[in-house]
Protein backbone atom coordinates (compact mmCIF):
# COMPACT_ATOMS: atom_id res chain seq x y z
CA UNK A 1 0.00 0.00 0.00
CA UNK A 2 2.60 2.50 1.13
CA UNK A 3 6.32 1.91 1.18
CA UNK A 4 9.18 4.16 2.20
CA UNK A 5 12.68 3.21 1.13
CA UNK A 6 15.58 5.01 2.76
CA UNK A 7 13.67 8.30 2.90
CA UNK A 8 15.82 11.18 4.10
CA UNK A 9 14.99 14.85 4.48
CA UNK A 10 17.56 17.55 5.14
CA UNK A 11 16.94 21.23 5.74
CA UNK A 12 20.33 22.80 5.13
CA UNK A 13 22.59 21.10 7.63
CA UNK A 14 19.73 19.78 9.77
CA UNK A 15 18.61 16.23 9.08
CA UNK A 16 14.93 15.96 9.95
CA UNK A 17 14.52 12.36 8.85
CA UNK A 18 17.25 9.88 8.06
CA UNK A 19 16.98 6.60 6.19
CA UNK A 20 13.37 5.96 7.14
CA UNK A 21 12.00 2.73 5.68
CA UNK A 22 8.75 0.95 6.38
CA UNK A 23 5.79 -0.56 4.61
CA UNK A 24 2.11 -0.36 5.40
CA UNK A 25 -0.50 -2.88 4.31
CA UNK A 26 -4.14 -2.50 3.32
CA UNK A 27 -6.29 -1.78 6.37
CA UNK A 28 -3.37 -1.48 8.76
CA UNK A 29 -3.21 1.21 11.44
CA UNK A 30 0.33 2.42 11.96
CA UNK A 31 1.39 4.99 14.51
CA UNK A 32 4.61 6.95 14.29
CA UNK A 33 5.45 7.80 17.87
CA UNK A 34 8.11 10.24 18.91
CA UNK A 35 8.87 13.44 20.81
CA UNK A 36 8.60 16.77 19.01
CA UNK A 37 11.51 17.21 16.64
CA UNK A 38 11.83 13.48 16.09
CA UNK A 39 10.97 13.82 12.39
CA UNK A 40 7.62 12.09 12.55
CA UNK A 41 5.65 15.01 11.08
CA UNK A 42 8.29 15.46 8.38
CA UNK A 43 7.74 11.85 7.31
CA UNK A 44 3.98 12.37 7.22
CA UNK A 45 4.29 15.56 5.14
CA UNK A 46 6.53 13.83 2.64
CA UNK A 47 3.97 11.06 2.22
CA UNK A 48 1.23 13.67 1.72
CA UNK A 49 3.41 15.40 -0.86
CA UNK A 50 3.85 18.76 0.89
CA UNK A 51 7.61 18.14 1.01
CA UNK A 52 9.99 16.29 -1.24
CA UNK A 53 12.45 13.82 0.28
CA UNK A 54 16.12 14.72 -0.15
CA UNK A 55 16.85 11.05 -0.82
CA UNK A 56 14.95 7.78 -0.96
CA UNK A 57 11.64 6.85 -2.54
CA UNK A 58 8.03 6.82 -1.44
CA UNK A 59 5.71 4.37 -3.16
CA UNK A 60 1.92 4.53 -3.05
CA UNK A 61 0.11 1.49 -4.38
CA UNK A 62 3.41 0.30 -5.83
CA UNK A 63 4.15 3.49 -7.80
CA UNK A 64 6.86 6.01 -6.89
CA UNK A 65 5.18 9.35 -6.19
CA UNK A 66 8.06 11.83 -6.18
CA UNK A 67 6.65 13.49 -9.33
CA UNK A 68 3.05 13.43 -8.12
CA UNK A 69 1.81 16.74 -6.58
CA UNK A 70 -0.28 16.42 -3.39
CA UNK A 71 -3.62 16.99 -5.15
CA UNK A 72 -3.02 14.00 -7.42
CA UNK A 73 -2.39 11.58 -4.54
CA UNK A 74 -5.30 9.61 -3.14
CA UNK A 75 -4.59 10.53 0.47
CA UNK A 76 -6.95 11.90 3.10
CA UNK A 77 -5.39 13.86 5.92
CA UNK A 78 -6.59 15.18 9.27
CA UNK A 79 -4.42 18.14 10.19
CA UNK A 80 -3.12 19.11 13.59
CA UNK A 81 -5.21 22.30 13.73
CA UNK A 82 -7.79 20.63 11.44
CA UNK A 83 -7.52 23.26 8.63
CA UNK A 84 -11.26 23.20 7.98
CA UNK A 85 -12.48 25.72 5.41
CA UNK A 86 -13.93 28.52 7.56
CA UNK A 87 -16.21 29.95 4.85
CA UNK A 88 -18.03 26.65 4.25
CA UNK A 89 -20.54 24.64 6.23
CA UNK A 90 -19.74 21.23 7.69
CA UNK A 91 -21.39 19.61 4.67
CA UNK A 92 -19.52 21.98 2.35
CA UNK A 93 -16.22 20.88 3.84
CA UNK A 94 -17.09 17.22 3.41
CA UNK A 95 -18.33 17.77 -0.15
CA UNK A 96 -15.21 19.73 -1.19
CA UNK A 97 -12.93 16.76 -1.91
CA UNK A 98 -15.82 15.05 -3.74
CA UNK A 99 -16.25 18.05 -6.05
CA UNK A 100 -12.50 18.37 -6.57
CA UNK A 101 -12.13 14.70 -7.38
CA UNK A 102 -14.94 14.70 -9.90
CA UNK A 103 -17.57 12.59 -8.16
CA UNK A 104 -20.92 12.62 -10.02
CA UNK A 105 -22.97 15.62 -8.87
CA UNK A 106 -25.98 13.52 -7.97
CA UNK A 107 -23.96 11.27 -5.72
CA UNK A 108 -22.32 14.00 -3.62
CA UNK A 109 -25.21 14.88 -1.24
CA UNK A 110 -25.83 11.18 -0.51
CA UNK A 111 -22.18 10.64 0.27
CA UNK A 112 -22.02 13.72 2.48
CA UNK A 113 -25.01 12.42 4.43
CA UNK A 114 -23.41 9.00 4.77
CA UNK A 115 -20.20 10.40 6.18
CA UNK A 116 -21.98 12.85 8.46
CA UNK A 117 -23.75 9.81 9.87
CA UNK A 118 -20.52 7.85 10.11
CA UNK A 119 -18.97 10.52 12.36
CA UNK A 120 -22.26 10.97 14.24
CA UNK A 121 -23.06 14.48 13.06
CA UNK A 122 -26.57 13.80 11.69
CA UNK A 123 -28.43 17.02 10.97
CA UNK A 124 -25.46 19.30 11.64
CA UNK A 125 -24.39 19.57 7.98
CA UNK A 126 -25.72 23.11 7.63
CA UNK A 127 -23.71 24.48 10.56
CA UNK A 128 -20.80 26.75 9.84
CA UNK A 129 -17.47 25.58 11.17
CA UNK A 130 -17.28 28.20 13.93
CA UNK A 131 -20.70 27.10 15.18
CA UNK A 132 -19.40 23.61 15.99
CA UNK A 133 -17.65 22.47 19.18
CA UNK A 134 -14.06 21.24 19.17
CA UNK A 135 -15.10 17.60 19.11
CA UNK A 136 -17.60 18.21 16.32
CA UNK A 137 -14.95 20.02 14.28
CA UNK A 138 -12.71 16.98 14.70
CA UNK A 139 -15.45 14.82 13.30
CA UNK A 140 -15.96 17.10 10.29
CA UNK A 141 -12.22 16.93 9.62
CA UNK A 142 -12.31 13.13 9.77
CA UNK A 143 -15.32 12.99 7.44
CA UNK A 144 -13.64 15.38 5.00
CA UNK A 145 -10.51 13.24 4.93
CA UNK A 146 -12.49 10.05 4.34
CA UNK A 147 -15.46 11.07 2.17
CA UNK A 148 -13.66 10.32 -1.11
CA UNK A 149 -12.46 6.95 0.22
CA UNK A 150 -8.73 7.59 -0.10
CA UNK A 151 -6.21 4.76 -0.35
CA UNK A 152 -4.47 6.14 2.71
CA UNK A 153 -5.45 8.22 5.72
CA UNK A 154 -2.90 10.43 7.49
CA UNK A 155 -3.46 11.78 10.99
CA UNK A 156 -1.16 14.60 12.10
CA UNK A 157 -1.73 14.65 15.87
CA UNK A 158 -5.32 15.81 15.42
CA UNK A 159 -6.21 14.80 18.98
CA UNK A 160 -3.42 16.68 20.71
CA UNK A 161 -5.51 19.78 21.40
CA UNK A 162 -8.47 17.98 22.96
CA UNK A 163 -8.96 17.50 26.68
CA UNK A 164 -8.21 14.05 28.03
CA UNK A 165 -11.71 12.62 28.19
CA UNK A 166 -12.66 13.75 24.68
CA UNK A 167 -9.29 12.60 23.38
CA UNK A 168 -9.81 9.10 24.69
CA UNK A 169 -13.31 8.98 23.21
CA UNK A 170 -12.00 10.18 19.85
CA UNK A 171 -9.20 7.60 19.88
CA UNK A 172 -11.76 4.81 20.04
CA UNK A 173 -13.91 6.65 17.50
CA UNK A 174 -10.99 6.86 15.05
CA UNK A 175 -10.31 3.19 15.53
CA UNK A 176 -13.96 2.28 14.92
CA UNK A 177 -14.23 4.33 11.72
CA UNK A 178 -10.86 3.13 10.47
CA UNK A 179 -11.85 -0.50 10.96
CA UNK A 180 -15.30 0.07 9.47
CA UNK A 181 -13.79 1.49 6.27
CA UNK A 182 -10.67 -0.66 6.29
CA UNK A 183 -8.50 2.23 5.17
CA UNK A 184 -4.74 2.06 5.72
CA UNK A 185 -3.86 4.74 8.26
CA UNK A 186 -0.72 6.44 9.48
CA UNK A 187 -1.11 8.33 12.73
CA UNK A 188 1.54 10.64 14.14
CA UNK A 189 1.64 11.35 17.84
CA UNK A 190 3.85 12.01 20.85
CA UNK A 191 1.26 10.40 23.13
CA UNK A 192 2.44 6.85 23.89
CA UNK A 193 -0.94 5.90 25.30
CA UNK A 194 -2.67 6.91 22.07
CA UNK A 195 -0.14 4.90 20.09
CA UNK A 196 -0.74 1.80 22.18
CA UNK A 197 -4.53 2.14 22.15
CA UNK A 198 -5.04 2.78 18.44
CA UNK A 199 -2.38 0.97 16.50
CA UNK A 200 -1.72 -2.38 14.88
CA UNK A 201 1.91 -1.37 14.68
CA UNK A 202 4.05 1.34 16.21
CA UNK A 203 7.14 3.00 14.77
CA UNK A 204 9.13 4.85 17.41
CA UNK A 205 11.24 7.72 16.06
CA UNK A 206 13.87 9.88 17.65
CA UNK A 207 16.39 12.26 16.13
CA UNK A 208 15.03 11.61 12.64
CA UNK A 209 15.70 7.88 12.85
CA UNK A 210 13.43 4.89 13.33
CA UNK A 211 14.28 3.41 16.73
CA UNK A 212 11.89 0.48 16.62
CA UNK A 213 9.04 -0.84 14.51
CA UNK A 214 6.85 -3.35 16.31
CA UNK A 215 3.39 -4.29 17.49
CA UNK A 216 2.35 -2.17 20.51
CA UNK A 217 2.78 -5.06 22.96
CA UNK A 218 6.23 -5.88 21.59
CA UNK A 219 7.41 -2.28 21.69
CA UNK A 220 6.31 -2.26 25.30
CA UNK A 221 7.65 -5.69 26.31
CA UNK A 222 10.81 -5.70 24.27
CA UNK A 223 11.97 -2.16 23.64
CA UNK A 224 14.83 -2.16 21.13
CA UNK A 225 16.91 0.35 22.99
CA UNK A 226 17.10 2.68 25.95
CA UNK A 227 15.21 5.46 24.15
CA UNK A 228 12.19 3.27 23.37
CA UNK A 229 12.21 1.84 26.89
CA UNK A 230 12.15 5.36 28.31
CA UNK A 231 9.61 6.80 25.88
CA UNK A 232 6.94 4.12 26.16
CA UNK A 233 5.90 3.68 29.76
CA UNK A 234 7.62 4.97 32.90
CA UNK A 235 10.98 3.32 33.28
CA UNK A 236 13.75 3.46 35.88
CA UNK A 237 17.28 3.43 34.52
CA UNK A 238 20.08 2.17 36.74
CA UNK A 239 23.73 2.56 35.76
CA UNK A 240 25.42 -0.85 35.71
CA UNK A 241 28.46 -2.71 34.46
CA UNK A 242 28.06 -5.73 32.19
CA UNK A 243 29.73 -8.86 33.61
CA UNK A 244 28.48 -11.42 31.12
CA UNK A 245 26.26 -11.25 28.04
CA UNK A 246 25.12 -14.02 25.73
CA UNK A 247 22.00 -15.67 24.30
CA UNK A 248 19.69 -12.80 25.18
CA UNK A 249 20.74 -12.77 28.81
CA UNK A 250 23.12 -10.49 30.65
CA UNK A 251 24.64 -10.53 34.09
CA UNK A 252 25.29 -7.05 35.44
CA UNK A 253 26.53 -5.31 38.55
CA UNK A 254 24.31 -2.52 39.87
CA UNK A 255 25.84 -0.83 42.89
CA UNK A 256 26.44 -3.63 45.42
CA UNK A 257 24.22 -6.14 43.62
CA UNK A 258 24.76 -8.66 40.90
CA UNK A 259 21.67 -9.40 38.89
CA UNK A 260 20.55 -10.98 35.68
CA UNK A 261 18.29 -9.54 33.01
CA UNK A 262 17.25 -9.69 29.39
CA UNK A 263 19.57 -8.15 26.85
CA UNK A 264 20.21 -8.21 23.14
CA UNK A 265 23.87 -7.44 23.83
CA UNK A 266 26.66 -9.87 22.97
CA UNK A 267 30.14 -10.52 24.37
CA UNK A 268 31.47 -7.17 23.11
CA UNK A 269 29.46 -5.43 25.85
CA UNK A 270 31.28 -7.17 28.70
CA UNK A 271 33.10 -4.74 30.96
CA UNK A 272 31.22 -1.75 29.54
CA UNK A 273 28.78 0.54 31.27
CA UNK A 274 25.11 -0.10 30.49
CA UNK A 275 21.64 0.96 31.57
CA UNK A 276 19.53 -1.52 33.46
CA UNK A 277 15.85 -0.68 32.91
CA UNK A 278 12.96 -1.50 35.22
CA UNK A 279 9.41 -0.47 34.47
CA UNK A 280 7.72 1.39 37.33
CA UNK A 281 4.88 -1.15 37.54
CA UNK A 282 7.22 -4.13 37.61
CA UNK A 283 8.97 -3.15 40.79
CA UNK A 284 7.29 -4.76 43.82
CA UNK A 285 7.29 -3.47 47.39
CA UNK A 286 7.43 -5.68 50.49
CA UNK A 287 8.13 -5.52 54.22
CA UNK A 288 11.66 -4.61 55.25
CA UNK A 289 13.91 -7.64 55.56
CA UNK A 290 11.34 -10.06 54.13
CA UNK A 291 11.07 -11.85 50.83
CA UNK A 292 8.52 -10.85 48.17
CA UNK A 293 6.53 -13.51 46.34
CA UNK A 294 7.57 -13.93 42.66
CA UNK A 295 10.54 -11.59 43.06
CA UNK A 296 14.01 -12.88 42.18
CA UNK A 297 15.90 -9.82 43.31
CA UNK A 298 15.49 -8.13 46.70
CA UNK A 299 16.95 -4.75 47.60
CA UNK A 300 16.44 -2.59 50.72
CA UNK A 301 14.96 0.87 50.13
CA UNK A 302 13.39 3.87 51.84
CA UNK A 303 10.12 5.48 50.70
CA UNK A 304 10.58 9.18 49.88
CA UNK A 305 7.33 10.06 48.15
CA UNK A 306 3.77 8.69 48.10
CA UNK A 307 1.15 9.95 45.64
CA UNK A 308 -2.33 8.44 45.72
CA UNK A 309 -3.94 8.63 42.25
CA UNK A 310 -7.03 6.50 42.87
CA UNK A 311 -6.41 3.61 40.50
CA UNK A 312 -2.76 3.48 41.50
CA UNK A 313 -0.26 4.72 44.03
CA UNK A 314 2.98 6.25 42.80
CA UNK A 315 6.00 5.79 45.07
CA UNK A 316 9.49 7.17 44.93
CA UNK A 317 12.08 5.17 46.84
CA UNK A 318 15.80 5.53 47.47
CA UNK A 319 17.89 2.38 47.17
CA UNK A 320 21.40 3.13 48.55
CA UNK A 321 22.77 -0.29 47.60
CA UNK A 322 21.76 0.23 43.95
CA UNK A 323 24.37 2.94 43.58
CA UNK A 324 22.16 5.43 45.43
CA UNK A 325 19.49 5.28 42.73
CA UNK A 326 16.00 6.71 43.18
CA UNK A 327 13.21 4.61 41.66
CA UNK A 328 9.63 5.31 40.69
CA UNK A 329 7.18 2.52 41.48
CA UNK A 330 3.51 2.08 40.55
CA UNK A 331 1.24 0.01 42.74
CA UNK A 332 -1.77 -0.77 40.54
CA UNK A 333 -3.74 -2.51 43.27
CA UNK A 334 -3.82 0.06 46.08
CA UNK A 335 -7.01 -1.32 47.64
CA UNK A 336 -5.44 -4.70 48.41
CA UNK A 337 -1.93 -3.55 49.20
CA UNK A 338 -0.72 -1.79 52.28
CA UNK A 339 -0.03 1.87 51.54
CA UNK A 340 3.50 2.79 52.63
CA UNK A 341 4.42 5.94 54.50
CA UNK A 342 7.15 8.42 53.68
CA UNK A 343 10.37 7.42 55.49
CA UNK A 344 9.31 3.78 55.84
CA UNK A 345 12.01 1.18 55.25
CA UNK A 346 10.90 -1.45 52.75
CA UNK A 347 12.23 -4.16 50.47
CA UNK A 348 11.84 -3.70 46.75
CA UNK A 349 12.11 -6.54 44.30
CA UNK A 350 11.59 -7.61 40.72
CA UNK A 351 11.51 -10.68 38.53
CA UNK A 352 14.67 -11.62 36.75
CA UNK A 353 13.11 -11.29 33.27
CA UNK A 354 11.68 -7.83 34.01
CA UNK A 355 15.13 -6.27 34.08
CA UNK A 356 16.31 -5.13 30.66
CA UNK A 357 19.93 -4.23 29.94
CA UNK A 358 20.86 -1.71 27.24
CA UNK A 359 24.58 -1.23 26.63
CA UNK A 360 25.53 2.42 26.15
CA UNK A 361 27.03 3.45 22.84
CA UNK A 362 30.81 3.50 22.96
Amino acid sequence: MVRLDGVTKRFGTVTAAEDVSFALHQGEFLTILGPSGSGKTTVLRMIAGFMQPTAGTILLGGRPVSELPPHRRSIGMVFQRLALFPHMTAAGNIAYPLKMRGFPRAEIPKRVERFLALVQLHGLGDRRINELSGGQQQRVAIARALSFEPDLLLLDEPLASLDRKLREDMQLEFRRIQQELGVATINVTHDQREALVMSDRVIVMDGGRVQQAAAPQDAYRQPANRFVAGFIGVTNFLACTVLEAHDGEAEVEIGDHRCAGRSAAGGEAVGRTADAALRAEQVLIGEAGQAIAHADMLVPATVTEVIFEGDRVVYAVDAPTLGGASLRIFDHDPLHHKTRRIGETVTIGWKRRDLMVFPRDA
Binding site: A48, H71, M77, F79, A83, F85, P86, Y96, F148
Partner: protein
Amino acid sequence: MSRPSARALFVWTIVWFNLVFLALPTVVVIIASFTAGNIVAFPPDGLSLRWYASLFETDSYTDAFLRSLYVAVICTVISLPVGTLAAIAMARYRLRLAGPIQVYLLLPFTIPLIVSGLGMMLVFGEIRILGQLWPVGFAACAINLPFMIWAVAASVNNLDTDLENAAANCGAPPLVTFVTVTLPAVMPGVITGGLLMFILAFNEFIVSLMLVDARIVTLPVLVYNSIRSVITPDLAAIAVVYIVVALVTIWVLDRLVGLEVFLKSK
Protein backbone atom coordinates in the same frame (compact mmCIF):
# COMPACT_ATOMS: atom_id res chain seq x y z
CA MET B 1 -16.64 58.57 47.92
CA SER B 2 -17.17 54.82 47.47
CA ARG B 3 -15.22 52.96 44.82
CA PRO B 4 -18.05 52.08 42.41
CA SER B 5 -19.15 55.70 42.09
CA ALA B 6 -15.54 56.79 41.50
CA ARG B 7 -15.41 54.33 38.66
CA ALA B 8 -18.76 55.49 37.34
CA LEU B 9 -17.46 59.07 37.38
CA PHE B 10 -14.38 58.01 35.42
CA VAL B 11 -16.40 56.09 32.83
CA TRP B 12 -18.95 58.84 32.38
CA THR B 13 -16.21 61.45 32.00
CA ILE B 14 -14.80 59.48 29.12
CA VAL B 15 -18.24 58.94 27.60
CA TRP B 16 -19.03 62.64 27.71
CA PHE B 17 -15.59 63.59 26.44
CA ASN B 18 -16.19 61.31 23.47
CA LEU B 19 -19.66 62.62 22.83
CA VAL B 20 -18.59 66.26 23.00
CA PHE B 21 -15.50 66.00 20.84
CA LEU B 22 -16.46 63.25 18.40
CA ALA B 23 -20.19 63.39 17.95
CA LEU B 24 -21.10 66.97 18.75
CA PRO B 25 -19.29 68.68 15.83
CA THR B 26 -20.99 66.29 13.44
CA VAL B 27 -24.40 66.93 14.95
CA VAL B 28 -23.84 70.70 14.86
CA VAL B 29 -22.89 70.58 11.17
CA ILE B 30 -25.92 68.47 10.33
CA ILE B 31 -28.25 70.87 12.07
CA ALA B 32 -26.52 73.91 10.58
CA SER B 33 -26.96 72.51 7.08
CA PHE B 34 -30.72 72.88 7.39
CA THR B 35 -30.56 76.61 7.94
CA ALA B 36 -32.75 78.98 6.02
CA GLY B 37 -30.31 81.87 6.40
CA ASN B 38 -27.38 82.91 4.23
CA ILE B 39 -24.53 82.14 6.62
CA VAL B 40 -23.49 79.04 8.54
CA ALA B 41 -24.77 79.52 12.06
CA PHE B 42 -25.69 77.49 15.09
CA PRO B 43 -28.42 77.40 16.14
CA PRO B 44 -29.66 77.68 12.53
CA ASP B 45 -31.58 80.70 11.34
CA GLY B 46 -34.84 78.89 10.52
CA LEU B 47 -35.15 75.50 8.82
CA SER B 48 -35.09 74.71 5.10
CA LEU B 49 -33.65 72.38 2.49
CA ARG B 50 -32.63 75.28 0.21
CA TRP B 51 -28.90 74.57 0.55
CA TYR B 52 -29.37 70.94 -0.39
CA ALA B 53 -31.38 72.08 -3.40
CA SER B 54 -28.60 74.45 -4.33
CA LEU B 55 -26.06 71.60 -4.08
CA PHE B 56 -27.91 69.61 -6.69
CA GLU B 57 -28.48 72.63 -8.88
CA THR B 58 -24.85 73.73 -8.89
CA ASP B 59 -22.98 71.83 -11.60
CA SER B 60 -19.58 72.47 -10.02
CA TYR B 61 -20.66 70.56 -6.91
CA THR B 62 -22.24 67.59 -8.64
CA ASP B 63 -19.32 67.37 -11.06
CA ALA B 64 -16.80 67.48 -8.22
CA PHE B 65 -18.80 64.83 -6.36
CA LEU B 66 -18.78 62.54 -9.40
CA ARG B 67 -15.04 63.15 -9.89
CA SER B 68 -14.35 62.16 -6.29
CA LEU B 69 -16.45 59.06 -6.82
CA TYR B 70 -14.46 58.25 -9.97
CA VAL B 71 -11.18 58.70 -8.10
CA ALA B 72 -12.41 56.45 -5.29
CA VAL B 73 -13.50 53.75 -7.74
CA ILE B 74 -10.15 53.81 -9.59
CA CYS B 75 -8.30 53.58 -6.28
CA THR B 76 -10.42 50.66 -5.06
CA VAL B 77 -10.22 48.76 -8.33
CA ILE B 78 -6.43 48.94 -8.34
CA SER B 79 -5.93 48.25 -4.65
CA LEU B 80 -8.19 45.17 -4.50
CA PRO B 81 -5.96 42.82 -6.50
CA VAL B 82 -2.67 44.53 -5.62
CA GLY B 83 -3.30 44.77 -1.87
CA THR B 84 -4.87 41.32 -1.59
CA LEU B 85 -2.07 39.52 -3.42
CA ALA B 86 0.63 41.51 -1.62
CA ALA B 87 -0.90 40.75 1.78
CA ILE B 88 -1.30 37.03 1.06
CA ALA B 89 2.24 36.82 -0.31
CA MET B 90 3.76 38.60 2.68
CA ALA B 91 1.74 36.85 5.35
CA ARG B 92 1.83 33.41 3.78
CA TYR B 93 5.13 32.85 2.08
CA ARG B 94 8.65 33.36 3.30
CA LEU B 95 9.82 36.03 0.91
CA ARG B 96 13.49 36.73 0.72
CA LEU B 97 12.99 40.49 0.96
CA ALA B 98 9.92 40.50 3.20
CA GLY B 99 11.42 43.05 5.61
CA PRO B 100 12.51 45.62 3.01
CA ILE B 101 9.25 45.15 1.08
CA GLN B 102 7.24 45.89 4.20
CA VAL B 103 9.23 49.06 4.88
CA TYR B 104 8.86 50.05 1.24
CA LEU B 105 5.09 49.59 1.41
CA LEU B 106 4.94 51.68 4.56
CA LEU B 107 6.94 54.54 3.05
CA PRO B 108 4.07 56.41 1.41
CA PHE B 109 2.30 56.19 4.72
CA THR B 110 5.07 57.57 6.91
CA ILE B 111 6.15 60.33 4.54
CA PRO B 112 4.02 63.49 4.90
CA LEU B 113 1.28 63.58 2.28
CA ILE B 114 2.47 66.94 1.12
CA VAL B 115 5.84 65.41 0.25
CA SER B 116 4.47 62.38 -1.61
CA GLY B 117 1.97 64.68 -3.29
CA LEU B 118 4.79 66.91 -4.49
CA GLY B 119 6.79 63.91 -5.71
CA MET B 120 3.85 62.53 -7.60
CA MET B 121 3.12 65.92 -9.11
CA LEU B 122 6.67 66.02 -10.49
CA VAL B 123 6.62 62.44 -11.75
CA PHE B 124 3.14 62.71 -13.27
CA GLY B 125 4.14 66.00 -14.90
CA GLU B 126 7.23 64.40 -16.36
CA ILE B 127 5.31 61.48 -17.89
CA ARG B 128 2.55 63.89 -18.99
CA ILE B 129 -0.41 62.49 -17.15
CA LEU B 130 -0.87 65.49 -14.89
CA GLY B 131 -4.23 67.15 -15.44
CA GLN B 132 -6.06 63.85 -15.89
CA LEU B 133 -8.28 62.41 -13.23
CA TRP B 134 -7.31 58.74 -13.09
CA PRO B 135 -3.77 59.41 -11.80
CA VAL B 136 -5.37 60.95 -8.71
CA GLY B 137 -7.05 57.61 -7.98
CA PHE B 138 -3.77 55.86 -8.65
CA ALA B 139 -1.97 58.19 -6.24
CA ALA B 140 -4.57 57.66 -3.52
CA CYS B 141 -4.10 53.92 -3.98
CA ALA B 142 -0.31 54.12 -3.69
CA ILE B 143 -0.50 56.21 -0.52
CA ASN B 144 -3.20 54.25 1.28
CA LEU B 145 -2.20 50.73 0.20
CA PRO B 146 -0.82 49.83 3.67
CA PHE B 147 -4.40 49.99 5.01
CA MET B 148 -5.53 47.48 2.40
CA ILE B 149 -2.58 45.20 3.13
CA TRP B 150 -3.17 45.38 6.88
CA ALA B 151 -6.85 44.56 6.52
CA VAL B 152 -6.17 41.51 4.35
CA ALA B 153 -3.12 40.43 6.36
CA ALA B 154 -5.27 40.37 9.51
CA SER B 155 -7.57 37.89 7.76
CA VAL B 156 -4.70 35.84 6.38
CA ASN B 157 -3.03 35.58 9.78
CA ASN B 158 -6.22 34.13 11.23
CA LEU B 159 -6.11 31.26 8.75
CA ASP B 160 -4.72 27.86 9.54
CA THR B 161 -1.30 27.60 7.88
CA ASP B 162 -2.32 24.19 6.55
CA LEU B 163 -5.47 25.49 4.82
CA GLU B 164 -3.97 25.32 1.31
CA ASN B 165 -2.40 21.96 2.08
CA ALA B 166 -5.80 20.71 3.16
CA ALA B 167 -7.29 21.85 -0.15
CA ALA B 168 -4.49 20.14 -2.09
CA ASN B 169 -5.11 17.05 -0.02
CA CYS B 170 -8.76 17.22 -1.06
CA GLY B 171 -7.64 17.15 -4.69
CA ALA B 172 -7.62 20.84 -5.60
CA PRO B 173 -4.81 22.07 -7.91
CA PRO B 174 -3.03 25.27 -6.74
CA LEU B 175 -5.05 27.78 -8.79
CA VAL B 176 -8.36 26.16 -7.82
CA THR B 177 -7.21 26.20 -4.20
CA PHE B 178 -6.57 29.93 -4.41
CA VAL B 179 -9.96 30.67 -5.96
CA THR B 180 -12.09 28.29 -3.88
CA VAL B 181 -10.31 28.35 -0.51
CA THR B 182 -7.71 31.08 0.05
CA LEU B 183 -9.64 33.96 -1.50
CA PRO B 184 -13.06 33.21 0.09
CA ALA B 185 -11.38 32.64 3.43
CA VAL B 186 -9.74 36.09 3.40
CA MET B 187 -12.78 37.79 1.85
CA PRO B 188 -13.75 39.61 5.08
CA GLY B 189 -10.35 41.32 5.03
CA VAL B 190 -10.60 42.08 1.31
CA ILE B 191 -14.03 43.70 1.69
CA THR B 192 -12.94 45.65 4.75
CA GLY B 193 -9.79 46.84 3.00
CA GLY B 194 -11.64 47.69 -0.21
CA LEU B 195 -14.22 49.83 1.58
CA LEU B 196 -11.48 51.52 3.57
CA MET B 197 -9.61 52.34 0.35
CA PHE B 198 -12.80 53.65 -1.22
CA ILE B 199 -13.59 56.00 1.64
CA LEU B 200 -9.97 57.16 2.02
CA ALA B 201 -9.73 57.99 -1.70
CA PHE B 202 -13.13 59.65 -1.66
CA ASN B 203 -11.98 61.89 1.19
CA GLU B 204 -8.38 62.43 -0.02
CA PHE B 205 -7.52 66.11 0.04
CA ILE B 206 -3.83 67.04 0.10
CA VAL B 207 -2.66 64.78 -2.71
CA SER B 208 -5.72 65.71 -4.77
CA LEU B 209 -4.94 69.37 -4.21
CA MET B 210 -1.49 68.94 -5.72
CA LEU B 211 -2.51 66.77 -8.65
CA VAL B 212 -5.68 68.45 -9.93
CA ASP B 213 -6.11 71.68 -11.85
CA ALA B 214 -9.14 73.97 -12.05
CA ARG B 215 -10.85 71.76 -14.64
CA ILE B 216 -10.86 68.60 -12.57
CA VAL B 217 -11.23 69.62 -8.92
CA THR B 218 -12.45 66.89 -6.60
CA LEU B 219 -14.99 67.55 -3.88
CA PRO B 220 -12.54 68.16 -0.99
CA VAL B 221 -10.53 70.57 -3.12
CA LEU B 222 -13.70 72.40 -4.14
CA VAL B 223 -14.72 72.73 -0.49
CA TYR B 224 -11.26 74.02 0.34
CA ASN B 225 -11.44 76.61 -2.45
CA SER B 226 -14.87 77.70 -1.24
CA ILE B 227 -13.98 78.21 2.41
CA ARG B 228 -11.22 80.56 1.39
CA SER B 229 -13.89 83.04 0.29
CA VAL B 230 -17.26 83.04 2.07
CA ILE B 231 -18.40 80.14 4.26
CA THR B 232 -21.90 79.49 2.98
CA PRO B 233 -24.32 76.88 4.35
CA ASP B 234 -23.95 74.73 1.20
CA LEU B 235 -20.58 73.68 2.66
CA ALA B 236 -22.43 72.32 5.69
CA ALA B 237 -24.67 70.45 3.27
CA ILE B 238 -21.57 68.96 1.59
CA ALA B 239 -20.28 67.95 4.99
CA VAL B 240 -23.53 66.06 5.48
CA VAL B 241 -23.02 64.36 2.12
CA TYR B 242 -19.67 63.13 3.42
CA ILE B 243 -21.27 61.87 6.61
CA VAL B 244 -23.89 60.01 4.57
CA VAL B 245 -21.23 58.39 2.36
CA ALA B 246 -19.31 57.29 5.48
CA LEU B 247 -22.49 55.84 7.04
CA VAL B 248 -23.37 54.00 3.85
CA THR B 249 -19.86 52.50 3.78
CA ILE B 250 -20.17 51.33 7.38
CA TRP B 251 -23.61 49.91 6.62
CA VAL B 252 -22.26 47.99 3.60
CA LEU B 253 -19.39 46.72 5.75
CA ASP B 254 -21.81 45.55 8.40
CA ARG B 255 -23.98 43.77 5.84
CA LEU B 256 -21.11 42.07 4.04
CA VAL B 257 -18.66 41.31 6.82
CA GLY B 258 -20.28 42.13 10.13
CA LEU B 259 -18.90 44.92 12.29
CA GLU B 260 -17.81 42.57 15.07
CA VAL B 261 -15.50 40.80 12.62
CA PHE B 262 -14.15 44.13 11.44
CA LEU B 263 -13.52 45.45 14.94
CA LYS B 264 -11.91 42.19 16.04
CA SER B 265 -9.63 42.02 13.02
CA LYS B 266 -8.14 45.40 13.83
